[in-house]
């Protein structure tokens, strides 16, 4: 065990034309850790996840994911993590089982193993009895659980979750975190997640980093953050660090579409 870090980021910069979405950030996520990445809208969370998961190339800086360089060892990096994106990425015209099988094929999991994994994971996420139903008939919570199950088929060492509990009821949120904490403990799986629910981060995460305007403002345990900011709750600490002003977000087509998508596809 030479490399005890699951993720290492050194002086990462990501520019889009003149705009620095991520501005010289460094952090380290230990193996088996649950790491929360917090920040207001547009702070650079999703961009960071995209760089870590090979979807975007870094402008500057060094990163390592499970000991691989996402830029040079793209496929090795990709095989080593699972991801649940902010927006649903299921094919709603396929059944739960078909979505799972498709993923197994994409990740070169043998058919025999895939069968066992799919059964195991769908049972774990309490979706086994609905495996042959089209995903378009699933509720938001079921879709999320299916996405998590899917992201785990290929035995990832890290699970990335970008706002995994957005728009879910407390029951589902609670269930999802119970599964994830369990996986984290039993399989020593590293979890890297973003959220807007401070109490979630407070409860689940071993380490928390707060990012704003592309820069990491603070990182450490929840208690450390509270001590440093002399606040009582993580939410207060967060607001103290990032300010109370509302963030400007461009009403892009994507955003509009996301809403249409939610309306029609649930």
């Amino acid at each position: 065990m030479k490399n005890e870090s699951a993720i290492t980021v050194k002086k990462l910069v990501k520019k889009f034309k003149d705009f620095k979405a991520v501005d010289n950030i460094s952090f380290d996520v230990k193996q088996g850790e649950i790491f929360a990445f917090l920040g207001p809208n547009g702070a650079g969370k999703t961009t960071t996840i995209k760089v870590l998961t090979t979807l975007l190339h870094p402008t500057e800086g060094k990163i390592s994911v499970n000991g691989f360089d996402p830029v040079k060892e793209t496929d090795k990096t990709r095989s080593s993590f699972g991801i649940v994106f902010q927006d649903p990425t299921l094919d709603v015209d396929l059944t739960a089982n078909e979505n799972m099988e498709f993923h197994a094929a994409m990740y070169h999991v043998s058919k025999k193993e895939a069968k066992q994994r799919i059964e195991h994971l769908l049972k774990l996420m309490e979706l086994w009895d609905r495996k042959d139903e089209l995903v378009k008939n699933f509720s938001g919570g079921m879709k999320r659980r299916l996405e998590i199950a899917r992201g785990l088929i290929h035995h990832p060492k890290i699970l990335f979750l970008d706002e995994p509990t957005l728009g879910l009821d407390p029951q589902t949120r609670n269930k999802i975190w119970t599964y994830i904490k369990d996986l984290n403990k039993k399989q020593n799986m590293t979890v890297f997640f973003t959220t807007h629910y401070m109490e979630e981060a407070d409860e689940v995460a071993d380490t928390i980093a707060i990012i704003d305007h592309g820069k990491i403002l603070i990182q450490g345990t929840s208690n450390k953050l509270k001590q440093k900011t002399k606040t009582k709750s993580l939410e207060q600490a967060f607001l103290k660090l990032t300010g109370r002003s509302l963030r400007k977000e461009n009403g892009s087509f994507k955003e509009t579409f996301r809403n249409i998508n939610r309306m029609w596809r649930g």
């Binding site: 995209k50 998961t53 090979t54 979807l55 975007l56 793209t74 496929d75 090795k76 990709r78 095989s79 991801i83 994106f85 927006d87 649903p88 990425t89 299921l90 094919d91 709603v92 015209d93 396929l94 078909e98 099988e101 498709f102 993923h103 094929a105 994409m106 990740y107 070169h108 089209l134 087509f253 994507k254 579409f257 998508n261 596809r265």
Partner: protein, 248 residues
């Protein structure tokens, strides 16, 4: 191989499950066959060109393939907006594999649609002149399907949303169809008009189909086949390149 197969199978399942779309896509070629076939038939015969349905059917088969293939290609935008594209792009597979699987899937769907239209044509009176040429006709059909699925994908890769879709429909798909000689003979056309048709790849697909199914090629089956293969290869390469450049 398994990746390509999975992508291909997904397209087929989606096609099979969307019966309204399948039937909807048949409406247009049916209308063309019936309205044009029977409407222009008498004039066509009076002009000494013989049976219009024999002439028209290969054109309408090509049309149905063109439309289905282009739509299948443009679906990439849909996958992108509904997020599914991310699932494939973050997987440890090359984009070329994804592109091949998607294109083959879309092309297969378009090809099946073409076969259905061919069967309908026969049902309303179209006769294949030489059954020995049927395999070659199928090759032409698949080439048309491949070419335009790849073209649709190439265009969709450069598009952020569906807003440009009417533009593509009216300034690309419709002209490709109407200026292909699918509806009228290529003989004795004004030079400029003839030249435009000559640079339209679908014209060669239509002519190839007409040559193999009705024994009435104007350009010649060999040239048709050569041009179709060459253009399909070029467009596929361009499509793969455009697809590899998609940023999420």
């Amino acid at each position: 191989m398994r990746v390509i197969h999975a992508m291909w199978l997904r397209q087929l399942k989606k096609y099979w499950r969307s019966k309204p779309r399948m039937i909807g896509m048949l409406g247009q070629p049916m209308l063309f066959l019936l309205a044009f076939g029977f409407g222009f038939g008498p004039i066509f015969e009076k002009a000494g060109q013989g049976n219009y349905l024999m002439f028209l059917a290969p054109g309408v088969i090509a049309m149905s393939i063109l439309f289905t293939a282009m739509f299948a290609g443009i679906e990439v935008i849909w996958d992108r907006q509904f997020g599914f594209l991310k699932e494939t792009l973050v997987a440890p597979v090359s984009r070329t594999e994804i592109m091949i699987g998607k294109t083959l899937g879309g092309a297969t769907v378009a090809f099946i649609q073409g076969i259905i239209v061919a069967i309908i044509s026969i049902a309303i009176g179209f006769r294949i002149t030489n059954p020995l040429y049927v395999p070659l006709a199928l090759v032409f059909m698949f080439l048309i399907a491949l070419l335009f699925t790849a073209l649709g994908t190439a265009i969709a890769s450069r598009m952020e949303d569906m807003q440009a879709f009417p533009l593509i429909m009216n300034f690309l798909i419709m002209p490709i169809f109407f200026l292909s000689g699918a509806l009228f003979p290529l003989e004795g056309l004004p030079t400029t008009f003839g030249t435009i048709i000559r640079i339209n790849p679908l014209a060669y697909g239509v002519d190839g189909l007409r040559g193999t199914l009705s024994n009435a090629a104007h350009i010649g089956i060999h040239i048709d086949l050569g041009v179709m293969i060459a253009v399909t290869i070029v467009i596929s390469i361009i499509g793969t390149y455009c697809f590899s450049k998609i940023e999420i």
